[in-house]
């Protein structure tokens, strides 16, 4: 049976491990819905055209530009943002690698880059250089020239593999 949603509806999903229920509208972008929450400002907004990737979040483990996802799409889904990467107050290996490699200047792209890296390493714990470049070039960094970010991704992959062993 076709499912129907009225212009305003109640949305339930899992955000960084916690259940969330909100009343929202069908025209609301996921990025706006996340950023309206006090704990959701890590997801940045810049181009709002799916181009820059600053707003990248994981929807059921797929990295998506949350400016180009209507919030209604995540009903029943699991959403992970940069706020959900740390565990028990400890930076995740990817976050720690970005910090230790100084892989940012202004930091505006960083949340999206970290989320994208999590998605890459979940699919491929030991990515080839070409794969790292293909994935990371999905998002735009206007500051670093990418080399420090690439170094952070390689380092994050090493750290995650070591933790897994």
């Amino acid at each position: 049976m076709a499912e129907r949603l009225g212009p305003r509806f109640d949305l339930s999903f899992t955000l960084n491990g916690a259940s969330v229920s909100v009343s929202t509208t069908t025209a609301t972008a996921l990025a706006d819905l996340l950023r309206e929450r006090r704990d959701g400002r890590g997801t940045r907004l810049a181009c709002e055209r799916a181009v820059c990737g600053a707003c990248t979040v994981l929807v059921d483990d797929v990295p998506r530009a949350s400016c180009a996802v209507f919030a209604f799409e995540v009903e029943g889904s699991t959403v992970r943002t940069v706020e959900g990467m740390a565990e028990d107050g400890e930076l995740s290996p990817v976050q720690a690698a970005f910090a230790d490699n100084a892989a940012f200047q202004c930091g505006f792209c960083t949340a999206g880059m970290i989320v994208l890296t999590e998605a890459l390493l979940a699919r491929d714990p030991d990515p080839e250089e070409a794969a790292i470049r293909d994935w990371i070039s999905s998002n735009i960094c206007r500051c670093t020239g990418y080399s420090l970010i690439l170094e952070a991704v390689r380092d994050a992959a090493r750290r995650k593999r070591e933790t897994a062993e």
Partner: protein
Amino acid sequence: MYEVAQAGLIAASYRDIPPFPVIAPASVEEAVAAMADAEAPVPYAGGTDLCGAVREGKKIGTLIWLKRLDELRGVRVADGTLSIGALTTHAGGAGADAAGAIPGLAEALSKLGKMRIRLSGTAGGNLMARHTRYEMSILLTALGGTAHFASAEGEADLTAADIWERAEPPRSLLTRLSIPLAGDLRLDYDRSLRPLMTQALARWTDISGRPQGRAVIATEYLRPFALDLELAGTDAKGIAAAAYEALPADFADPASGNDWLRRAGAAILARQLARLEAARG
């Protein structure tokens, strides 16, 4: 007076977009019915194009969300035809075993945008967005494929050129792309000069065993143009130069002049012919 807002340089925020009803059909049949009955229906697949378009002024009466139509996902080969479901993502197409039925196809699909886009952007959305900078139309033209549309009025198979002319039935849904598997069909797609130009080359043998070829050139701003190739003989440069005589003198845009397109296109085509020849072994 020049008004920035009127010039369209400032897009609406989502807050300014009036909410709309959403229908999520569970089958193609239901989707076709929803397209027929809903007020101003707009199909919605991966959203990588539509969300931006909405902020730039595209109006949604009713959003027909295609997500539940699993039957429109995947690449299959049956009865001598390769079909790509309209909801197949570029990454899904590139990774599908069946894409191997046309050597070069998976590689071409793996170049459509970067990974974040390839994981969400679909074949159908790429064609129906009708942007000259999107590339599915180029590949479909080179491979001699068609797009299948379903509507309450009936079904239709259209070429990419027909889609540019908006010849699909009103209120229809693109369901799949079909490519007849001509003898030893192969593809080479060259994006090395993108965005100034890209070129796809398809090569196959006809039933009498003669080699056939089609090159398709496109630019950021121009719709794909197909050049039929005379492949008799082995001189790739000669074949490419002869093919380019058919390029219309007005095939040019502000970034890529006609003379340059002829020279660059012929040079790339010669390389592509050589690559396909080498790949055949």
